[in-house]
Symmetry: C2
Subunit: 107 residues, 2 copies
DNA sequence: CAGATGTACTACGACAGACGTAGTACGACA
DNA sequence: TGTCGTACTACGTCTGTCGTAGTACATCTG
């Protein structure tokens, strides 16, 4: 289990990755993060939903409602062009971080 | 320049690395971080000194005074056995993070 | 048919860590 | 004498995460 303190900087990137090709919604995204990390990282619900509103405010994602026939209505999120751009920058930053942190690992 | 949000989780590790073999002090450590990262990451003074007091409270480092003949007296920090242990755990966690984040990078 | 479980959120307040700003204090150098 | 470099300390703000709690509906289970 990875501590949230170290994942803090990547939460936005993880979410943007999962909506990059097709819109998605909270519960689905949280399940995918858990699955993709093989249970090593689980994003808390409150963290996820507050990330959504932050990303929406930054115009990196847009909310819309799905037309579920039954069940509680879902809020879907779709990535914007700025969001894609931001995601790509984060990927580049990730490479830099790897380079830097690696220097502080004792061999 | 790397954003501090993503480095937040590694600041403690960086400091512990730099006092692992021999004690050091604030200004020296901040210079080394800048040099080792080739200027990509610069830890702010306030961030560094607040990390010191946190690490000291956790018993991962111990403070002592150097016997400088002139100039302002320095506070040196020496790593403890718990500090070394914590550092090693952080290195293992770093590997896990790499594995996880890598899955969220579009190829 | 009632209650547990899963889905899909929202609200609120607490807390930790990073940061901006400012100030202190001393030495060296021009 | 004044600026730059060294070596901190204090204080208040902000952002992001988290704990707790509550709402609401559907489906599954005994």
């Amino acid at each position: 289990m990875i501590s949230s303190d170290v994942m803090r900087g990547y939460n936005d990137m993880l979410i943007l990755y999962l909506v990059y090709d097709a819109p998605s919604y909270g519960y689905e995204i949280s399940k995918q993060i858990k699955e993709m990390s093989e249970g090593v990282y689980v994003m808390k619900e409150t963290t996820l939903y507050s990330a959504f509103s932050r990303l929406e405010k930054m115009k990196y994602i847009e909310a819309f409602f799905g037309d579920e026939s039954g069940g509680k209505r879902r809020t879907y999120y779709r990535i914007t062009e700025e969001g894609r751009q931001y995601y790509r920058e984060k990927c580049i930053e990730w490479r830099e971080i790897q380079q830097v942190v690696e220097k502080f690992i004792r061999k």
